[in-house]
Structures are given as C-alpha cells and as structure tokens.
C-alpha cells in the first residue's frame, strides 16, 4: 500500500512495508517514536518537488478544494500502477479514483499513519531539513492567505456594501444639487419652482430655456408631458418678477444642471447594478424585503456571512441600536423595528399590526439570509414562499379588525336612552305651565260672590256697626269655597298633563309643544286683565268707610294668594 503525503516542498509517496501494524490502530503511534522504528514501517518511494512558489500555491489551492492538480495526476499515474493509495482527504480520494482508476483508502488507521508521518517527516525524507521546512511552510501559508483574500466567494458582498453606501451618498448629493439649482435660478424665474415640481424636469427645463424670455418660442413637450404646465410656464415667463441675469451666470447655472442630470443618470445605473448583484448574491433576501433594504442589512451587518450568524431578533432591530440602548438604560419600551421598517410588507400593515409583522418578517428574513449565505444555488423559492405566508398572515390580521368594527351596532340602544332622557326633560318643562291655568280660573268664579258680599256688608253697616263676628264667619265661608276650587284644580291637572303627553307621542317634534305653551300664556294674560277691571269698578262705587273695609279684605285676598 502507498501513502500520499502533502508537504510544503512537494508531494511524497511512501510505501508501507509492514501493513500488519495498521490493524492495531491504538498502538501505531509507538512505531513512530523513533526514526529507526519509523523506517521499518514506511519508506519513501518517490517525491514530486514543486518547481517554484506559484506551483506550490496552485497545487495547495486545488488540494484544499479536493481536486488533484495536473502535476499530481502525472505523478500518481507514474508510480501508483496497481497499488492501493491511502489519502488524508476522502473527497480527494474519490476524485483520484474517478480520474485515474486508482483505489483509494481513507479511515482511522490512515489518519493515525498520517500523524506518525508528520511527526517523523524530516527524518523520513532525505534532503528536507527542519531548518528548510519552516520558511517553506510560512511562505506557502502567506501565499495561500493572500490568494484567499484576493478571491473569496464569500467576500463578493463587499461590492454590495460599497454600492449601497454610494447610492445613499448619491441621493443626498443629488438632492443638494437640485435644491441649489432651484434656488439659484429662482432669482431669475421664481415662479418656475411651483410650476415644475420634479427636480430632474426642472433641471432639463432650465438647461433648455436659459433666459426666461426664450420660453415663449421653445417647445417643452419632450420634457413636460402636461400641456397645461407648459402653458402656465410660458405665461409666467412673460409676467415673472425675477431679476435679470447675464449670459455668464446662465452658463454656470447650465453647468450645474448638467451635473444634476449626470448624477441622476449614474444613480439609475448604479441602482440597476445593485439590483442585479442582489439578485445574484442574495435572491431570497431580495424577494422578501427588496433590494435596498436587503443591501442596507448586509452593509450594516458587515457582510452576508456575518448577517447569517445573527438571530432573527437582532435583524429586527438592526439600525435602531441607539434607541435600543437608550431604552435598556432607562427601562422603557424597546424599539420594534430598525432598517426593516422600510420593507413594503411593514408599510402595508396598519399601525396596530406593524410590530407583529415586523417580528415575523425578521424571523423569515433570518432564514432567507442563512440560505443565501451558506447555500450554493441561486434559487429564491424560500423568499417567495415566505413572502406569500407573511402576506396571508397580514390579511388575516387585518380581517379580524373588520369583525370588531361590525360590533358598533351595539351602541344604538345608547342613542335611544339619550332620546328618552330628552322626552322626560321636555315633559317636566311643560308641567308647571299647564298647572297654572286652573289657578287663573279661580278669579272669575270669585267676582260674583264678592258683589253679593259687598251688598250684604253695606246693609249690616247701616243696621249695627258693632257686629265683627259676622264678618269673620263670612271670611271662613270664603276660605272653604277656595279650598274646594283648589281640589277641583288638582283633579284637572293630571288629565291635562296626560293630554300633553299624548300630543307629544303623536308629534315627536318640538314644534307641537310651543303652541300649547303660548296658548297657556295668553289665557293667563287675559285673566289678569279681568282682575284689574273688576278692581277698578269696585273702587268707583264705594264710600270712604267702605273703602277702608275693602282695603282690609284685599289684603286678606293677597295673603290667600300668597299662600296658594
């Protein structure tokens, strides 16, 4: 059996002299404690030396990828005819077997054998001293690392990081330049700022027009698709209140417009480049959150591989570190989103569900990033399927909200209760007005007995003046009559109120109530007038002595009225 051993100086091929010792794997290390015993087990059969450093580098690179280099294949074909080959890498063994039809072996015994060979390498290979092996190893490792840094599949995302950084810088610069154009040309033609709102169109118009007096003769249809805007522009150019500018000023403004247009073109080109690179490097992430958000996540994470090592909860709040640490320090609520806030899925969600969708999106994004970073294919099915699931979940959440709004019909009884309160209030307001009407009726019935009483009193005065008891008795009788009338009034009152309520029910409007109130007021007025007339008549007829008596009676009546 032969053993293939890789060294910085070249490939070594050893012949196993005593294969029986390989059966005792746990004791094999004892055979390699001394160089003499090692020589009894294996001996060097052939050595393929690397010609120069680049040759060593290319061979080592291929070995790392488990592929035999051209020199190695020739070397093995020459010396391994009909032999079994022990190799350190099973993948390399499979490749050699496939290409050269040489049986290859890889097991624990071979690994143990490799350790022994490595231990006694300088003794087994003549002409390869320890002092020579050190610098050779160091040189090869440096070359290999330099090679890796130059070309590493994992590092292609540096292009995305630089592109997204430049894109953000371009956006800021472009905005600054565009606002400068507006401000500068605004001295000459201030009305144009409100007519043309798009920055790129504004720059094109300014570049084409130059002095505003040229506007009338120019055709802006290529720049402004809206004819109305063009008409407004030409009218404003004639009546503009801007200041005059010289040709030298205009040429500088035109150059600035050229800069704005060139920057906008480059930005569009850079965006297309970023889109294609993102679809190539991170197709699932792009399908899930879009090119810009995905690129910003990669840039913030440092690299796609670094981002793949983050849990979903970290990806959710990437970009909100300041808010997070402030919240942790002051023990307030932590932020719900960072860079992924600008993803379209979160934009679709209502304010109430943004947090939930953010958490779900971050979890799916973490899975998509890991597949993009660690997988080989450019399939974006994971991103597409995850996006569909999230959109379905968003619809479910939004649909539940609609169900709650349907419950607003439960509020209708409250409105009815409120109306009832109004009705009760209206009823209370109309009650005292109607109860007052019967009181007015009292005066009309009293006038006749007053006259009869007066006549009777006159007769008594003529007969005997010293009979006050009779007067007292008459007063008592009058009081009794008044009480009876009051009782009648109280009986009538509820009936009147009942009528009022019935009217209200028939007519729900307030208009029906007002006429009743007005009628009551009118009747009260009439009754008062009658009272006054009766008083005047009485005064005209009486004599002095009778007048004094009447005054006393009036006082009594007033008192009764007050009591009522």
């Amino acid at each position: 059996m032969l053993v293939l051993f890789e060294t910085p100086a070249g490939f070594a091929l050893f012949k196993v002299l005593d294969e029986g010792k390989l059966d005792k794997v746990e004791d094999l290390w004892k055979e390699f404690t001394t160089s003499d015993s090692a020589r009894k087990v294996v001996e060097l059969k052939a050595f393929n030396k690397f010609e120069n450093t680049s040759d060593a580098l290319s061979a080592a690179t291929l070995i790392i990828d488990s592929k035999p280099s051209k020199g190695l294949r020739k070397f093995l074909q020459k010396h391994c005819e009909g032999e079994t080959l022990a190799v350190a890498d099973s993948k390399l063994g499979n490749a050699i077997k496939e290409k050269l039809k040489i049986d290859c072996l890889h097991n624990s015994a071979v690994m143990e054998l490799m350790r022994g060979l490595r231990n006694q390498l300088t003794e087994l290979i003549t002409g390869l001293g320890a002092q020579d092996l050190g610098p050779m190893s160091l040189g090869l490792s440096h070359s290999l690392s330099r090679y890796k840094l130059k070309f590493s599949p994992e590092k292609v995302d540096t292009m995305i990081i630089q592109a997204i950084g430049l894109l953000d810088d371009l956006d800021k610069e472009l905005n600054t330049y565009a606002m400068r154009v507006r401000e500068w040309y605004g001295w000459h033609f201030p009305e144009l700022t409100k007519i043309v709102t798009d920055n790129i169109q504004y720059a094109k118009v300014v570049k084409m027009m130059g002095n505003r007096t040229n506007a009338v003769n120019l055709d802006f249809s290529e720049i402004l698709s809206d004819e109305e805007l063009e008409t407004q522009l030409k009218e404003a150019a004639v009546i503009s209140m801007g200041t005059e500018v010289s040709d030298l000023d205009l040429s500088n403004i035109r150059e600035l417009c050229d800069q704005v247009l060139a920057l906008s073109e480059y930005r569009a080109q850079l965006y297309d480049y970023l889109k294609s690179r993102m679809n190539t490097i991170a197709p699932n992430l792009t399908a899930l959150v879009g090119e810009l958000v995905g690129a910003r996540l990669i840039a913030h994470g440092g690299s796609l591989l670094n981002l793949a090592k983050q849990p979903g909860s970290t990806i959710q709040i990437l970009g909100a570190e300041k808010a997070l640490f402030r919240a942790l320090k002051t023990k307030h609520s932590t932020p719900k989103y960072g860079l992924i806030y600008h993803a379209s899925l979160i934009g679709k969600a209502s304010q109430k569900h943004k947090g939930k969708i953010s958490r779900s999106l971050a979890a799916k994004t973490a899975l998509a990033i890991r597949y993009d970073a660690l997988g080989d294919g450019e399939d974006n099915s994971i991103g597409t399927e995850s996006r569909l699931k999230l959109e379905t979940r968003l619809q479910v959440l939004e649909g539940r909200e609609l169900g709650k709004s349907a419950g607003s019909t439960k509020g209708k009884p409250k409105i009815e209760v409120y109306e009832k309160d109004r009705k009760q209030g209206a009823g209370a307001l109309t009650t005292p007005a109607k109860t007052y009407n019967p009181a007015a009726d009292l005066v009309l019935t009293e006038e006749t007995p007053k006259k009869s009483e007066l006549a009777s009193k006159k007769r008594k005065h003529h007969e005997v003046q010293t009979e006050p008891s009779a007067e007292l008795a008459e007063g008592a009788v009058q009081e009794d009559r008044k009480k009876k009338k009051k009782n009648k009034e109280s009986e009538e009152a509820p009936a009147a109120e009942g009528d009022g309520e019935k009217k209200k029910k028939k007519k729900s409007k307030d208009v029906g109530e007002e006429p009743a109130v007005a009628a009551a007021a009118a009747t009260e007025g009439e009754k008062k007038k009658k009272k006054k007339k009766s008083d005047a008549d009485g005064e005209g007829v009486t004599t002095q002595t009778e007048e004094s008596g009447k005054k006393d009676k009036k006082k009594k009546k007033k008192r009764h009225a007050d009591d009522e």
């Binding site: 849990p311 979890a363 890991r370 660690l374």
Partner: protein
C-alpha cells in the same frame, strides 16, 4: 429515516450516540438547561453559555442552520448532527420538530458530569 444524508451534516452521530444525545437533551429540558431553536442556539453561542449544540440532519434546507457550526468553531463549542428533527423535537419536549438546540452551562448542575462525557464523545467524532 432518509437513506441519503446531506454531506454537509458533519459530524453525524450514529444510532448509539444519537440515543445518548437525545437522552441528555431530555434531561437538560427538565433541568431548564436547554435552549430550543436555531435563533436561541445562536444567542447562547454569542453569549458564550453553550456547552454543546445539536442539529438535525434532515432539515430542509439544511443551510438555515449551517451558520451554527461556524459560530461553534469560533467559540470552541462541540456540535453534532442527529438524523431526525422529529426525534429532536420530542426530546426537547415540544410538539413541533426542532432543527437545533443548545445545552447551556450551569455550575453545580447534576448533569455536569454527563454533559462533560457527552462533549468528549462528540469531540471524538471530529478527529
């Protein structure tokens, strides 16, 4: 079980070692020394409180947990693949499949010796 195992799932535990691993995981779940799920396992590795990481080899796609070996190598934590995510979920005590879990450190735990022994067994697979 699937006849073809993803070659990236390395080192893959054999039947006997798998039973030992699942048994320790079940005990760790009872002792609250277990973190279930790829995201939580990632956090234990970042915080440095992980004893070893167990992953399921029949995960589809497997790439969604291949970042764990990278982190485990950085933190010098043993990691191992077991054949079935369903079995791993049952061992963790959840009804859903579990593709990754991490046994955490706890000084003075009764599982200390068993975990140490299992770590040694897992590390032997990588030699």
């Amino acid at each position: 079980m699937e006849s073809v195992v993803n070659p990236k799932a390395y080192p893959l535990a054999d039947a006997q070692l798998t039973m030992g691993i699942l048994d320790i995981i079940q005990q760790a779940a009872n002792y609250k020394q277990l973190k279930k799920g790829a995201n939580e396992a990632t956090k234990t590795l970042n915080r440095g409180i992980s004893e070893f990481v167990v992953m399921a080899a029949d995960t589809e796609p497997l790439e969604i947990l291949l970042h764990l070996p990278l982190l485990a190598e950085d933190k010098n934590v043993p990691y191992v693949f077991v054949p079935s995510k369903q079995a791993l979920g049952r061992a963790c005590g959840v009804t859903r499949p579990v593709i990754a879990c991490s046994v955490t450190s706890n000084e003075g735990s009764q599982l200390k010796l068993q975990i140490q022994g299992l770590k040694d067994s897992i590390e032997k697979l990588l030699i």
